[in-house]
Symmetry: D2
Subunit: 138 residues, 4 copies
């Protein structure tokens, strides 16, 4: 099973990703892109996508970026993640790009950025920085 | 309109809260509690609630805690939020308690903790620390 | 060697702590307190203690709090730390209290708060939340 | 007074920067570089530069990067900063590059990276992500 197949299989088991309408847009070594429409069902009180949607996409993109540089039998869990929100997540859809900052044996430091698209217009809405912990299910 | 009514009205406009099944459990000055079942629709690939659910509950509880100590015409937005995950969010339901650490005029520093309940057994699953920005819609 | 002796010996090897004038005020299981005067040599451009001093004290207090709950042969390193600054660090001296939020085998989640004293008047100046990684030097 | 002169004057008033031996290496719009030797006086118990030194350099580089894109009468304070440590800060000297991620009117989101040099060999030791608050002293 290729790394992309493994990540795609894992992504498909995440009900949360289906709930927010997310899809896996691309996988390369150390970088993963996710996309999701801004559904009415994920908005907050001002009508923008809830911060938790940017978090969900950024965190998952970063986690899969970590997975993309690890041994085939590894899994990862988020240890911690920080998000800075740059602008309201307004528009049609969100795109999150996760990348690996440093891959250690015990910890993988990752980053992600989230962009909102309104028609053809792009706007940065969030940046994330965090830590993934690899583990090896027996 | 009391602060609790204002917060309840804002909460009810957050479609994201309905999507994850959250309810507003209690509001007091500087502290707000939210609850949600762990729905199948919000799980990640290992069957636990996705980190984004703990984030959504903790961030919203913290934001409403900030709102509870502010003038009636104020609204808040999350500027940044950091979450440390302590244990897998396994069980029946999650409860998030948000509190105010320091309420300034320009920024409100907040914290939140998230607990998972499995039957009667409680387990800390996340702690959050972040910043809310008050604004005054005209 | 007791845990307090081990922590005191480690603290005494930290030249940075001497440079900022810090002392180890108290050690108990899961909680460590450090103190330092606000020296002219650690100020920033507005005359307050530099944010890095609150960081140094909070991070070290939190790290030693983690060490206080671990096996005798363990050491810890900071994996990540986030600081929210609540007020300018003005006054005579700073006191940082570090505590353990969750002690895991691979990661220890910690918190710290920093208070400035101006004569007898206390003011919260910072809160920190972060992750320590235990390791076992051979 | 040019932006570089303003930043240099502010830097020279920071006693903390002199204490750790830091110098202002370069200023351009949205990016500032600081350098410091790894002095014996700033080490921790394992002989590496204390995390607070990487924090001090990264935070200050990021703060000055924010200042470089703001009106001449503005000052900035750190609201919050998160640091992920990537490797021990071993070697001769550290170099921190701060940059602006998004410059808003009320908040400036910033990032920084810190590299350690051991002779000619460079190693990433830390990444930071945080928020600066502009203010206008009268």
């Amino acid at each position: 099973m290729s790394i992309e197949q493994k990540i795609r299989a894992s992504f498909d088991r995440q009900a949360m990703m289906a709930t927010i309408g997310a899809e896996l847009a691309s996988v390369s070594e150390g970088q993963v892109v996710l996309r999701a429409p801004i559904l009415e069902s994920v908005t907050q009180q001002h009508g923008f996508a809830h911060a938790a949607v940017s978090f969900a996409l950024g965190d998952s993109a970063a986690g899969y970026a970590a997975l993309s540089v690890m041994p085939e039998d590894a899994e990862v869990l988020t240890a911690e993640m920080k998000i800075n929100l740059l602008a309201p997540a307004a528009g049609d859809r969100l795109e999150a790009t996760g990348h690996v900052i440093r891959a250690g044996r015990k910890l993988v430091v990752v980053g992600a950025s989230v962009v909102a698209f309104d028609g053809g217009k792009a706007r940065d809405v969030a940046v994330l920085q965090g830590t993934m912990v690899p583990f090896y299910p027996s």
